[in-house]
């Protein structure tokens, strides 16, 4: 890739990130507010504050993970992609830019929220026992985003994307209920120290593999497409 080609791809990524800026900022603010909420109201015996805060955080990240692929799809459906493809950029470079910018737009708030929450939990005197559950769940949301992104850029189909949204959203509940039963997670939320059991590490490893596979497909398949439109 020459410098000039690279610079246009980078410019397309920058353009997309600028386009997503309010979504990124909104997610970061709503996510941070949700995390703050988790610190309140733990004295009522039913953990209303932490539960509501965690639920709000999940919802915020899920919304971001759905909105980004749908915005990519919308650009194709409205034929704004035709304008970009009239510029000196190949369809492969264009699709690379779309996936890379959406991934960056997701990872920016996701990393800040997951890393921030984990760091604050680990560094505060509060119990760390819920950390494996939290990290595995947040990573599962990243998995869902990557799967949905791959599905959207490969199929470029709104019905397929909607089906993907339904399945991935439903899977969050199933995943969390299964995860809560794993050794190292079950009954450990009030533990002072987080237990990274082999089962939890296996879950994280599987999540990582699915993320890498999804991203590989999202980057590779559109770049090999014979017809860009």
């Amino acid at each position: 890739m020459t410098g000039s080609r690279g610079s246009l791809t980078a410019r397309l990524i920058a353009r997309d990130l600028h386009h997503y800026r309010w979504l990124i900022l909104g997610t970061a603010i709503a996510g941070a507010a949700s995390l703050v909420l988790t610190r309140f109201g733990d004295g009522d015996g039913i953990s209303t504050g932490p539960n509501v805060g965690f639920l709000l955080l999940l919802t915020t990240v899920i919304v971001l993970g759905v909105a980004l692929p749908m915005l990519v799809l919308k650009e194709h459906e409205t034929r704004s992609d035709l304008f970009v493809l009239s510029l000196p950029v190949s369809a492969a470079q264009y699709s690379f830019a779309k996936v890379a910018s959406a991934l960056a737009a997701f990872l920016l708030p996701w990393t800040a929220l997951t890393g921030g929450a984990a760091a604050v939990t680990a560094l505060s005197p509060a119990p760390d026992g819920s950390l494996p559950f939290f990290v595995a769940t947040m990573t599962f949301l990243l998995v869902n985003f990557c799967l949905l992104m791959a599905l959207t850029v490969i199929t470029r189909s709104e019905p397929a994307a909607i089906a993907g949204i339904l399945v991935t959203n439903f899977s969050v509940t199933v995943f969390m209920s299964r995860l809560a039963r794993l050794p190292g997670v079950a009954g450990r939320s009030k533990d002072a120290v987080a237990t990274w059991s082999p089962e939890v590490l296996a879950v994280l490893a599987v999540e990582l593999v699915v993320i890498l596979l999804s991203l590989a497909l999202a980057f590779y398949v559109p770049s090999r497409r014979r017809d860009a439109l």
Binding site: R79, L82, S86, R226, D227
Partner: protein, 302 residues
């Protein structure tokens, strides 16, 4: 006109097959400085051909060169010199025209002409602050045309840019293209099913129908060789066999003969056969286009 210079466009034996449509062995050249009207009915294959040219679609067979670059392999190099506007192209809805101008100018820093862009904004009654989502279809097309023209490309590829425009907007677009074609180095491929637009700005014509090029050549030559003759003759007289006759519409005492290889001697041939030649009419490009398409379909038994 030279044919030795690197052609702006060269298509050789290009084919592309879809489930219900096939582009079949399409070949044509566009020389530097020429303006080619690519005319065909809806669904004829104009947009597919242009998508192949712009490397948006990969052909199943054939070779495509744009400004000496093999497509799609050298598309990035070729697209630096190509301005492409399509009727279905949309700009980013949330961004302003000014943002688009800045974006495209940053992609073509050496070629972008600020003064020309400002003049086009004024001519097309567009404003930098306007958001694309608030623009009418005509304004969107004009904005896209501005972005393509102000980078001063060597080749303009225009896919039905006047479709859906009101008569005034259409004339604004055509008027600007008339200015552009004064630049003798610049080539234009102008696809349309509107022959009036094509007749105004093009010097070369290619007709496409059902995925095949059915005729092509110099526009003036087209207009010169096509005629419609109105004859009066008794029902008992048979018309003589004359080369180039593509259609004869005959009633009891009259006949209308359409020819695509008119010569001055032709009326005399009919007169010798006993017919009275009432009128010899030049045909419009639209009439020629329709006659060509219908004749080819008849020849193929379609």
């Amino acid at each position: 006109m030279t044919t030795t210079a690197t052609p702006a466009i060269a298509l050789r034996g290009v084919s592309k097959r879809y489930r219900f449509f096939a582009l079949d062995d399409v070949s044509f050249r566009l020389e530097p400085g020429q303006i080619l009207g690519f005319v065909g009915p809806n669904g004829a294959g104009k947009s597919t051909t242009i998508r192949i040219l712009m490397a948006l679609v990969r052909p199943d067979a054939g070779d495509v060169e744009v400004l000496g670059c093999r497509m799609p392999d050298e598309q990035v190099r070729a697209k630096r010199e190509v301005g492409f506007v399509s009727e279905e192209m949309r700009l980013f809805p949330g961004a302003t025209i000014g943002w688009h101008v800045g974006f495209v100018r940053s992609v073509f820093p050496g070629a972008w002409d600020d003064r020309y862009a400002a003049r086009l904004l004024q001519r097309f009654h567009l404003h930098r602050e306007q958001r694309v989502k608030g623009l009418s279809h005509g304004e969107q097309v004009k904005a896209a045309l501005l972005l393509a023209l102000a980078r001063r490309p060597r080749l303009l590829v225009l896919d039905e840019p006047t479709v859906g425009l009101d008569p005034v907007a259409r004339q604004e677009v055509i008027g600007e293209l008339m200015e552009v074609v004064r630049d003798e180095e610049r080539s234009i491929l102008f696809s349309s099913h509107n022959t009036l637009d094509v007749e105004q700005i093009c010097d070369q014509i290619a007709f496409i129908d059902r995925g095949r090029i059915v005729d092509s050549g110099d526009k003036e030559a087209f207009l010169e060789r096509w005629r419609r003759l109105s004859l009066e003759l008794p029902a008992t007289i048979a018309l003589p066999e004359v080369p180039g006759v593509v259609d004869v519409a005959r009633s009891a005492r009259t006949a209308v003969v359409t020819v695509n290889a008119f010569e001055e001697a032709l009326p005399a041939a009919y007169q010798r056969a006993g017919a009275v030649v009432r009128d010899v009419q030049r045909m419009t490009l639209e009439e020629i286009f329709v006659a060509t398409v219908m004749n080819r379909r008849k020849e193929r038994g379609e």
